[in-house]
């Protein structure tokens, strides 16, 4: 009998596992292999160079710059997205008045849910193209045009948005403008995620707290937040992945794809330039492998730090 079950399970798993091995694992292995060569990408000639490419990574100034830009996103994207998503989810679920039916969200929360979630159904490139028009830096841009009409922005000095490398709080302005889009487009999804988690928290806990005279501030920080710990932790890891990517926004929205003058360079844009413009696929693969290792370590660390005992309710 046991034998039959094993065969049955294997039969179902064989195909997906084979596909996964061939299309996911094998390319990874190949890339790791190429990272030890000086392959140019356009021919079948390559020499083994050992760890040279990895040694080179550490002295590459552009990579260092890109790394810190990725770190900026790694800190800010999860922080702002989760904060905003939590705030919205709280308002939509338990932020409203209390009545005989118990605790509820603010008036019209169903509608808001749809509106906030909407960016999630758009592709990231569609979002980028749309924001290009919003950020356009003459009077035909949505923001610039509006501000010029009401006289807040001088037509001779429009806001540069993604073409502006001037530092704000030590970080090029272009990165802040990109961050804004990333948070805007990401918050809706996590709002829904947190909403679902909040709805599974029994209402009587809140009611008990209210009876004890807890303010909304206290219910949020003492009840909601601790009970959402697991969900937030997962969200943090996902958003970390997104922050390490950011490729589509940088590619579509910044001048010279990573500009102006390297001000929005990220790992992926340097990798793209190295592989496809400079024709150094071996080195580019080394960047990819390094980023992969970094990502995995980060995810492992993240999950370990936030691991705690689960609360059953």
């Amino acid at each position: 009998m046991r034998h039959g079950v094993a065969r049955f399970v294997t039969g179902f798993l064989a195909l997906p596992v084979a596909l996964y091995l061939f299309y996911v694992v094998w390319p990874f292995a190949q890339a790791a292999g190429y990272s030890l060569t000086n392959w140019g990408g356009y021919s079948d000639k390559q020499e083994f160079v050992g760890l040279d490419n990895y040694v080179r990574l550490f002295s590459d100034e552009l990579i260092r710059k890109a790394f810190w830009h990725n770190v900026f996103f790694l800190v800010t994207v999860p922080l702002f997205t989760i904060a905003l998503a939590l705030f919205l989810a709280f308002l939509l679920n338990v932020g409203g008045r209390e009545d005989r039916a118990g605790i509820r969200g603010v008036f019209g929360s169903g509608l808001y849910k749809v509106i906030f979630f909407f960016p999630q159904v758009l592709s990231l490139v569609v979002i980028a193209v749309m924001w290009q028009q919003i950020y356009r830096s003459d009077n035909q841009g949505l923001i610039n045009g509006l501000l010029m009409k009401i006289g807040l922005v001088d037509a001779d000095n429009p806001i540069g948005f993604t073409a502006d490398p001037e530092p704000f709080l030590g970080v090029p302005a272009v990165l802040w403008w990109l961050l804004f889009i990333a948070v805007w487009s990401g918050a809706g999804f996590y709002m829904v995620l947190f909403s679902a988690a909040m709805q599974s928290i029994p209402k009587d806990i809140y009611e008990a707290a209210l009876l004890d005279g807890a303010s909304r501030f206290h219910t949020f920080f003492r009840i909601t937040l601790p009970l959402l710990r697991d969900t937030i932790s997962v969200a943090w890891v996902y958003l970390g992945f997104i922050a390490l990517d950011m490729y589509a926004l940088v590619f579509v929205m910044t001048p010279s794809q990573g500009g102006p003058n390297h001000a929005s360079e990220i790992f992926a844009s340097v990798l793209n330039f190295t592989a496809f413009q400079k024709g150094q696929f071996g080195y580019a693969c080394a960047m990819g492998v390094a980023l992969a290792i970094f990502t995995i370590l980060l995810a492992a660390l993240q999950l370990r730090i936030t691991r705690r005992e689960r609360i059953e309710y």
Binding site: Y34, F241, A248, P255, S256, G259, H262, K278, T295
Partner: protein, 470 residues
Amino acid sequence: MSVTPEHPADLSRRTLLRRAAAAGLLVTPAAGLLSACAGSEPSKSDDTGAAKSKDNPFGVKDGSAVKVVIFNGGLGDQWANEDKAVFAAKHAGVTVNMSSTQKIKTEEQPKMATQPSDLVMNSGADMMDISTLVNEGAIEPLDDLLTAPAWDSEGTVADTLLPGTVEDGTFQGKFYVVNVAFTVWGNWYNGALFAKEGWQPPTTFDEFFALAPKIKAKGIAPYVHDAVHGYYPRWALMATIWKSAGRQAVVDIDNLKENAWKADGVLPALQAWEKLVKDRLLLPGNLNHTQSQQAWLDGKAAFIQVGTWLKNEMAATIPPGFEMKLSDYWGLGATDKAPKDVFAGAGEGLVVPSKAPNKAAAKEFLRAVLSKSGSAKFAELTKSLASTKGSGDGVQDTALASANELMRNAPKDLIKTKLFDFYADLDKESQNLSEELMAGRLTAQQFVDKMQAAADKVAKDSSIKKQTRA
């Protein structure tokens, strides 16, 4: 070097999905980046030929198929369909599978080492780096095409080409790239507006600076530029450097000679542009190429600098009564070493991958592209000159006529820079610095210093294969 642009934003849904997958939005970013590098094992190509003759110099086999990929940018792709008809007249038995795209590198690079298309038009913002293709031996030398008989005129193919076409396609002594369009660059203006106002198009920066206040008084910005793609302003900067410092100075720059960027005449050329920016003669806003071109067409700015594909690219939105005219780039004045030289050259390069399965048919197709009938259709459809002599003879058009006029008075030397085709690092750096100079965040002196430093770094880097020009 001569690149017709396209929007980075114009990603088709399919490419963007592929890109999204490649960039790893679905799994982890690193995972996608990893698989983006991976290729597969190369396969052997077989090039079995038929008998060779005057009408079939490469021995194209009847019944074979040839895959042609056309860049669908500023020039469109209709002209290539006309060439298909020209080709079919002699080789009805050969199937031409033609496709067009804006994403040349995205779609063709992964196939280069294994199963490439037979003929690829390598152009646009997403083009494959040409020096890498040559260094890697990924494309085929086409010297036998030059010595083959011309399609529908006397002599060889080389005899029918405009000057500069062979030189522009030659790398390391071999002819690799067939550039089909002959492009002239310069400052464009609206002939009708200038006639109405009684303005003369300037020939030097001084004349421009004198005219600028009059233009401003009419509520028009004197100049508008593409602030998104660094290679646009770079054309203008390099043209001014050439006119001011002379041919040899640019050749030295291209050959990475010591202190080449510090030569006499280079700094003043860049200072003229610095003054243009500092005097606030630019239309404010960071527009891309089509946005800036449209602003110019809408009468918001008097001058814009770009190549002769402009007319075709903007054909749909040219206002009635607008008279597109091309004038030469401005020099600095009496001190100029090469004031009359014109920035022109053959661009829009077609290449034959070394591993292409039907190279004979690819070369034969190129012969058809360069034919008299094919190139005449090209000029008619694109309002750009083809690299074949006499292509524009039968076309009536103010833009094309003013470009012809400019070429007629041009000395034999054409303004040409090779540095950015030679070295991808310097290509990137110069684009960035050009943008910064035009944004007013960089002085001419800083531009020169930074370019010199970048050039020295490449010169010292033994891992980069050096190229030279004469």
